[in-house]
Symmetry: C5
Subunit: 355 residues, 5 copies
């Protein structure tokens, strides 16, 4: 699971606000810059070595999508910032991966920070990555921590001209990126949901301390998910309200769709939290039940044999004058008495439903 | 119980927004299309094979209610969408049964998604179905996942001309459909309520681990109900505020009535949640009480017989010189002492209210 | 306690909205209709057989209070509805006793539904009754489920001309009715409060499973009270804001007074809920404490006598060569050793504060 | 602790609203009326026998503070009400000590009800008293249930002309009274805080059932404090917003100061509530820990001695042919075996960290 | 940990509002006054003995930052107050270290109170210090309880002219101070986070009562942090909304940045609270699990040996006629039976998964 608090603090304290410091794990070797430039009729796609190669596209009327994988090369970020007129604080937010999802609306561009989640099947852990989007009149710039495959279907759609994307503007492209990310949350939630149901099954069959640890891990993941998705709701909402002049009215209905999905995700996370709380209750009760079971076994054994042992002890005494000891049927009589005592006990426990 | 998260994710990721994909179980073999077309004086009712047969009704001034059972035939949905000018995202929502209840107000039609609930008496489980309503100036289109009987009384009323329905417009018809669905929630809650009271009764008499499972199932059903009904409140509320020009003022008081019912249902769900929490507390206490009971039995047996066994053990020792062993009344004296010890113990436990 | 969900559902599903069906228990044999007609100078009071006898009062400028006890005679309700121009949905709400408290403001009358509570001392249970009030320019109509005595002091005040009531309008009369009902909540809370304090006392002295049941019953009653009183707050508040033209400005301060009382009642219910939660904690701890007590007794007995029994067992062995057995003071020596062991144990438990 | 619900109900039900009935304990023998009349240059202070002696001050331009200790003499209250034009409902609120803190703004005076708290060191209990303030253009009337010393420093300041009080108006005097009361809450909270910390200390050392009772008492006191202080916040806030024309702008900053203090008190109460919940958790865990301890002692004793006793029992059997019994070193061999078994057990428990 | 309620009460009750009394610990011997006066081109920095030396800077157009470490010298505070036209209540708040974070906007200066936190690594405790900031057109005055190093990097930036600080106004300097403080919260949270993770590790390995105490201490620290940071949010928010004319528009985006950080800190504190609650659950379950373990050991020992001891007891009886005693293989037969009983028991417990 990603840390609840990103290690941002020590490196940053005391620096000039707006100083670029890459905070977070370096997840990729070399920064990869890909450009797709398109309008309804034409499409140009290339991967560039130097960031400067992107700049000529800026002044063309076509839609330009610059996708940057890797945040550690601060020079690239700085050059883009200069070229596209981004505020130093925006650049600082892009390279500091401990951001809370947020939207900032500048006059000629909108800046959005999001969390993208992966579920690492091997480790069984949530992984988070920060994605920053900047879109203006005719460009979208996306920053990722590493090369991902989540935008591939979108790229394919652009290439093939499927859907509205080639006809619509940069705002629609930004929406499509957002939509890909939000759709991905559903995948994560489904995977988590299956794991949770497995844990529930296990809990019903054989609850162990490990089951508790599993429940707790899920709870922590839900805390993390919640922390990522609640602010996302505000982000999408403020886009969907149509306050930015960069968002075309025809895109608003699509953003409303994303907003509905976000609400649905939040609902689901809350439902899972409720489920996990319920599982904890079941776990605690099953421990109590088990202890009850153990106690009953002990008590049944003790209550049956302790009186019998006492009787045996009595006739093991060495008193000179113990008349029963001389009786011919004394021994068998005592055995009979013992059997009766045991039977009475068993009936008693049967009645108490302990057996 | 329906899944908390509908399996929507994997099929959808990366598709063009607005692509029609039927998500959910296919609950019916063949799509069934029924039309009722009426005004105050005349009524026409028929079941059609081809969706195109519905379209002539569209331009007639009479109210047309098209009821479509089954969502898997995407062609039908698409044709209707084209004919009635529905947005692709609306069509997508209709066939994706994992929607959250919501209302979308377009210029010339209003789109409402709802959850209809059934209580499957055999399985003892809640079943959910998605219902979509679209109403415009003179038409209502309803989409259901399977053929249901919930709208039959309404159909009967239209046929017989009972109530306002034949005199009022499409908005009143839409209200009447909504009202049928909301009324049905009361039936569900009543059935659940009876089951919960049964479980409460059982809890008081003989709480077992199964009782806990039952309580948990109810809790999960309440989470599901809540998830379905909370957004319904917003839906009805936004209709009832009269913001849509398609809703006549005279219908508003009826919508207010539905709104009141929705609030009442929410109240009831919350009350049940509180009750179920209380039942969990009782369950946990009753486990503790049982363990207490078991412990007391053990302790009474142990405390009475352990000292006696000790005494018997003492006189079972083989020391050469043990004067008591030679006494004539030694044995009976010891038996008497044992009886006294046991009696003292019993009095002690009586005082402690353990007996 | 009244049911949390009134059995409304099954009879109603599929009926035309506005159809009159009396839902709820029939608490009275014959409907009783009483009229008080008054102004500052004159007063007429009578009990009528037929509802039509009320109607002449309607057009007189004097204030007319029609009090109807019993809701099952739908014909009476319908006639009143027709005469006073009430909406069919209002009439439906009057006879359906499962309503949530609410206020509806029509142009020429205001409709208020409330819950009246009784505490049945014999059964030790809360009883609820639905009261509907309709007031217009110069009339107030009140509907009760059975003949009650709660309005008697008000009637007396009207007869004797005490207070403002004879000088003020129908809105003041409606306020006075509301005030009687809200004042009655205080009585209920006081009675419940005494019972809760009794239960608390009992809990401190001898907590049993019954105490838990009592606490739970109170909790459920608090849920019910809350459900009745929270919406009342909105009702009074919307009256008190003076939005209705039927409420005179001079009455507003009185309504504010009722509003203050409602808030105070809600506060008290919340405080009781907190108290009851605290009592549950005490109950659970006292169970744990008791078990601790039981365990200590068991452990003390076991820990003292088990070693002693072992020693006795050793000297009960039949080895041919056991030198101690032949010693003269062997027996007494062993007894001494046993006494010392027991004493050490006792000191040890004393130190552990188990004794 | 004061009762959570004041006994107001039974005496009041059915009375004309505005009827004066003193509800609450009579805490003082004879009503005491004190007047301070001052402006910047002069000061007159006296204690009067008859309330009528206050009235001449009313029309003087100087600030008049009438302080009335004791609420049971309804005649005095009524005369003041008449003289100062107070609404009957205000008078009713003054003498009914079960009020919730509130502010009512009339045209020419403002009415404030508050709770004053004392901590009775002897009984270790919170005591509450109701204080009503009425201030107009040039007068302040304060009603207390008994003679208190809380306003003495303020009186002294007026006499000595310290601070702004002699220069400012009646609104500042009212503020100063409010400030004295709110400052007193800090004293109460400090005293309670010390007691809570004592209880926490005790909890860490030796938690008993009494500790639980203490925690619960504090919890109930916090419920009570909360009930008193939350509405106070609204009272001060509505004064501080400067809506009343009776409050001078220069006084607003002082009211904001009081408001800050109120928020701080609420914060503190909430923090104490959190602390007390934490203490309950610790209490419950310490019970469980103790039981664990007890169980371990029992188990260690049982697990060591039960096998040994069994061995002793075996060689206590009276079989004719038991070869070991004849061995010379049989006895000592058995003793050795026993010692080894015990040692193994001890090592085992050591490893399990039970020792 | 700092006290949840500062000891403010007793010294203050009854004093004239605005009286300067230093409340809180005296953390420094002698008050230290440092001045930095700068504009874009020049810089003057000095440490003065007498506060009067600061005043000439006031009327210069350059930005003046007066930093005062130590609050106990009331004369200095008073002189500054007089010189800069501060309200007596502001001065009172500065020297009373029990303030809740708040912002007060006066016409020509803004007053901000904050909490600065330190984590004392040695004591393992949070330490809090109150910081007051006052900024006007061209001056910032900061008051600290003791000499700290938190503003040193900012001083360095001013000296070296790094960043915007030398070019911007007093509002930017105030922002920079705020930013330093908020950044420091991240450091604290990181340190606390590491400690919490350590405790979590410990909890998984060997939960003891001390672990519980540690968890509780963290919980209390979270309560304290929350109390300090929630109001900070409002403070920054009200600055960021740009309501004060003293805050330049270009500074707003920086304040928004601080606001984002504050939200992030609040999020993190809430996440930690959730984590700590989860740890408490784990602790309680692990106690129950341990007890279960103990009980199982006891039960296994008891259930195996009690029946065997009983059998041994039977053949230890001294009856004259016990045929088995005479059998040659009687003894070994009994031993065999015993071994079988023990084996059966072990298999039984194996099946029950107790072994």
């Amino acid at each position: 699971m990603p840390r609840l608090v990103a290690r941002r603090a020590k490196q940053k304290v005391g620096l000039v606000p707006g100083t670029l410091v890459h905070i977070g794990e370096r997840k990729i070797e070399k920064v990869r810059i890909r450009i797709i430039d398109y309008d309804e009729t034409q499409l140009e796609e290339k991967e560039v070595e130097k960031v400067e190669e992107c700049f000529p596209f800026k002044d063309k009327p076509t839609i330009t999508w610059i996708n940057i994988d890797g945040l550690h090369d601060l020079e690239i970020i700085e050059k883009i910032g200069k070229q596209f007129g981004l505020h130093p604080l925006v650049l600082e937010d892009i390279v500091n991966t401990g951001q809370r999802p947020k939207l900032e609306d500048f006059e000629n561009h909108v800046f959005v920070v999001l969390k993208m989640l992966y579920y690492d099947q091997e480790k069984g852990e949530l992984e988070a990555e920060q994605i920053s989007l900047i879109f203006g009149q005719n460009f979208v710039i996306s920053f990722q921590e590493r090369v991902g495959d989540i935008f591939d279907p979108l790229r394919e759609r652009i290439r093939k001209g499927k859907g509205r994307v080639r006809k619509a503007g940069a705002d629609y492209l930004a929406y499509a990126l957002l939509d890909s990310i939000v759709d991905n949350y559903f995948v994560i939630l489904e995977q988590l949901g299956e794991k949770i149901e497995d844990a529930e099954q296990e809990l019903a069959v054989n609850p162990t301390l490990e089951t508790l640890q599993t429940i707790r891990t899920f709870k922590k993941e839900m805390i993390f998910l919640r922390k990522s998705i609640w602010p996302l709701r505000e982000v999408v909402n403020s886009l969907e309200r149509g306050e930015s002049s960069l968002v075309d009215e025809s895109t608003l209905i699509y953003l409303r769709d994303v907003y509905d999905h976000t609400i649905q995700i939040i609902d689901t996370v809350e439902s899972y939290r409720d489920m996990l709380s319920g599982m904890l209750d079941v776990y605690l009760s099953s421990i109590s039940n088990k202890m009850n079971e153990v106690m009953k076994v002990l008590t049944i054994f003790a209550a049956i044999f302790i009186p019998l042992t006492f009787v045996a002890g009595v006739y093991g005494m060495n008193f000179a004058f113990m008349p029963e000891l001389g009786w011919q049927w004394g021994y068998f009589g005592v055995l009979l008495v013992m059997a009766i005592v045991a039977a009475v006990m068993l009936v008693y426990f049967k009645r108490k439903r302990w057996l």
